[in-house]
C-alpha cells in the first residue's frame, strides 16, 4: 500500500538534490536560474534540497572527476528509493572536451546510472525545464537520431564518359 502511495505521489513533486561533480559552474548557475521566479520550477512542485536523503532526483553537473567519483557514488547510495538521476550539460553525458582526459571518468554514466540527459554547454534554463517536463510526461520527446543519405548514386566515371561521347554533338562539330 505504501509502495502504491509512493508511486502515486512520486510524479507529483520531485525534490531535487544538486550534485556538482567537478563542473565549471556554468551548469550550476543555470540550475539556480531555473529556481528563480522567472523560470519558476516550483510550479511542478520541485524544490532544491540540501541533503541527498531528502531528495528524489539527483541533478549531476560536470564530468565526474577522479576525486569526486567515490563521493558521487556515496551520494547516489544515500538517496532513498525510488530515485532518478538527471545529467545536466554535455560534460555529464559524454564528458564534453574532457572525455578522454586522464583525471575524468568521461560522463556520469560511468559512475551512476543516469535516467535523463539534458545536452547543452551549458543548457538553457528552458532546456532544463524541458527535461524536467519530459520526465514528468508533460511534453513529448523531440530529439531523434538523424540519418542523411545522398540519394543520387553517382554513375561510374567510365560509363559517364562513354555516354557523354555518344550524346554530345560538340565532338562532331570539332571534327568538321
Amino acid at each position: 500500500m505504501l509502495a502504491n502511495l509512493a508511486k502515486k505521489m512520486f510524479p507529483r513533486s520531485l525534490w531535487v538534490y544538486h550534485c556538482n561533480s567537478g563542473a565549471c559552474n556554468g551548469c550550476d548557475i543555470e540550475i539556480l536560474n531555473v529556481l528563480t521566479p522567472f523560470y519558476d520550477i516550483e510550479r511542478f512542485g520541485m524544490k532544491l534540497v540540501t541533503s541527498p536523503r531528502h531528495g528524489d532526483v539527483m541533478l549531476i553537473s560536470g564530468a565526474v572527476t577522479r576525486p569526486t567519483l567515490p563521493l558521487v557514488k556515496r551520494v547516489y547510495e544515500a538517496m532513498p528509493q525510488p530515485k532518478l538521476v538527471f545529467g545536466i550539460g554535455s560534460c555529464t553525458i559524454g564528458g564534453n572536451m574532457w572525455f578522454d582526459c586522464y583525471n575524468v571518468c568521461g560522463g556520469a554514466e560511468k559512475a551512476v546510472p543516469v535516467n535523463y540527459f539534458v545536452p547543452g554547454c551549458p543548457p538553457r534554463p528552458e532546456a532544463i525545464i524541458y527535461g524536467v517536463a519530459l520526465a514528468l510526461g508533460l511534453v513529448d520527446k523531440k530529439a531523434a537520431p538523424v540519418e542523411l543519405k545522398q540519394m543520387e548514386f553517382p554513375i561510374d566515371m567510365y560509363t559517364r564518359k562513354k555516354a557523354w561521347e555518344e550524346r554530345n554533338v560538340i565532338y562532331k562539330l570539332l571534327e568538321d
Binding site: N96, M97, G107, C121, A133, L138, A143, L148, K149, P154
Partner: protein, 181 residues
C-alpha cells in the same frame, strides 16, 4: 496596521504582473544568434572533413567505409555547441539551428549520420565528392572541360567559351608519372 501593510504589499506585487514563463506549455523563442543543435545539409556537403578536424570535443567522426562512400557521424552527446563546424564549413552545409529541446533518456537520440558518395581523384587517389553541386563541378559549367578523364586528372584551365586549341592541348596532356611507376 498589519492588514494595511499586507494589502500594500499585494498591490505592489500586482503592479508588475506575472513574469513567470509558461515555458513547457508555450514555446519560448531563442535570441537571434543562439547556437543550438548543428544541422547538416547532405546536398551541400563535399565531405572535406573540416568540421571533423576542427571540433574541439571531437564529436564529428569521418570514416571511409569503402572507396566511394564516406560516412560522417556526429555524436551530439558531448557537443559543446561552439559553432566552429559551421564556421569552417566551406560550403555552408552546417547551420546552427535554434533547437535546444534535446533532453532524452537515450544518448543515441542526439546523433546524426551523413552518408556521402565520393569519387577518387585520379592523380592523388584521395576522395572528393562527385556531384553537380560541389565546387569543382560548378566550375565545369563555366567552361571547365573535365568530361575527359585525362584532362580531369590535371589542374584544369577555364575559358569562357569552348576553345578548340586549349581543348586539343589538354586532350594530349600527359600527367607526370610518379618515380616508381
Amino acid at each position: 496596521m498589519w492588514l494595511t501593510s499586507k494589502i500594500k504589499q499585494v498591490m505592489m506585487a500586482l503592479k508588475p504582473g506575472v513574469v513567470t514563463l509558461k515555458y513547457p506549455y508555450e514555446p519560448h523563442p531563442v535570441p537571434p544568434d543562439f547556437r543550438g543543435q548543428p544541422c547538416w545539409d547532405h546536398h551541400k556537403c563535399i565531405g572535406c572533413g573540416g568540421c571533423a578536424a576542427h571540433c574541439p570535443a571531437r564529436t564529428i567522426m569521418m570514416r571511409d567505409i569503402c572507396q566511394e562512400v564516406r560516412v560522417m557521424v556526429y555524436d551530439g552527446s558531448r557537443c559543446t555547441y561552439c559553432g566552429r563546424c559551421s564556421d569552417v564549413c566551406p560550403e555552408d552545409a552546417i547551420t546552427m539551428t535554434d533547437q535546444f529541446e534535446l533532453a532524452t533518456g537515450d544518448k543515441a537520440d542526439v546523433t546524426q549520420t551523413v552518408e556521402l558518395f565520393m569519387a577518387t581523384c585520379k592523380r592523388c587517389g584521395r576522395c572528393y565528392e562527385h556531384e553537380t553541386t560541389n565546387a569543382i563541378d560548378r566550375m565545369s559549367m563555366k567552361g571547365y572541360r573535365y568530361d575527359n578523364l585525362e584532362v580531369r586528372a590535371v589542374i584544369p584551365v577555364s575559358t569562357e567559351h569552348l576553345d578548340s586549341v586549349l581543348l586539343d592541348k589538354t586532350e594530349k596532356y600527359k600527367r607526370p608519372e610518379k618515380v616508381g611507376e
